[in-house]
Amino acid sequence: MDASVAEQQRILASDWGGGKSPFGTDWAKFMMWIFIISDALTFAAMLIAYGFMRSISPAWPKQTEVFNMVLITFMTFDLISSSAVMAMAVGAARAGDAKTAVKYISLTILGGAIFLGCQVYEWSHFIEHGARLGHNPWGVPQFAATFFVITGFHGFHVFSGLTILAIVAIRAAMGKYSATSVENAGLYWHFVDVVWVFVFAFYYLL
């Protein structure tokens, strides 16, 4: 009987025994990770579809000649910087310094807003030059279609991220926050950055 109890305790103490989270996180953070992974699957499918469409097209325009690469590089710099500042916000929230956390989250929101502004400028410029979902002046229709779908979907994520960050910042300013909520918002924001790193490399540079 004793051996049976000891065996039960040994199983419960193991990673997959049911006694504790095998992932070592609380449920909210784990659910955020599950969401990020499912969202990453969507973006992965989108980028592979883009690669497929590009490689079945007889020719593909040279992106560095079509897009304003100074602007795109600035957007990348901006998003990476906002991600670094968000990491600092998470550190401050974990240390229980709500005031500093709100300051850093506000800076992150500013970075995200600048990114969205640049994207609006880029889109309007692209449309002004004749780009539409079904056709564009540079070559195959898929060139503009994949641009609008991928950067549009990413831009929507940036907008969602800004909304989440604004809610977290307001709650933190009111003293109604937990370090986990700031960390979860941060995870989402870093994910938005990760996706942009892929888009920057595979859509704009390759």
Partner: protein, 121 residues
């Protein structure tokens, strides 16, 4: 349940990571402009991108301090992307000599069957 693993407290590590990310972004930009075979360019961009993702994931997203079970879970989309890439590869024109990246300064599209004609010579 609360997290029972260590997290970084200082901003110094984030600043160092930010510097590395900027350097790698500039390197990726240079790869985009320097003329080289597309295969080499793709390989270099994949390496730089994965390095950047590794840094963001491990430092900014704290995966460095998480359990290996969670870290492995986050790799599943990458695995799916690789599977999808090889599933669709056979249908693409990656080895087609007529498939080009064009400069929109006076490029003429290839004539259908030009590669076969060239091969017949």
């Amino acid at each position: 349940m609360s997290n029972d693993h260590a997290h970084p407290s200082g901003n110094r590590q984030y600043f160092t990571t930010w510097c590395w990310l900027l350097l790698m972004t500039l390197f990726a930009l240079a790869i985009g402009y320097v003329p080289m075979p597309e295969g080499v360019k793709a390989f270099l961009l994949v390496v730089v991108t994965l390095a950047k993702i590794g840094l963001i994931g491990s430092i900014f997203m704290h995966l460095k301090f998480e359990k290996m079970n969670l870290v492995m879970l986050t790799f599943s989309p990458l695995l799916l992307a690789i599977i999808l890439f090889f599933m669709t590869r056979g249908e693409t024109r990656m080895h087609d000599a007529t498939h080009v990246v064009l400069s929109h300064e006076g490029w003429v599209p290839p004539v259908e069957g030009a590669a076969e004609a060239e091969h017949a010579k």
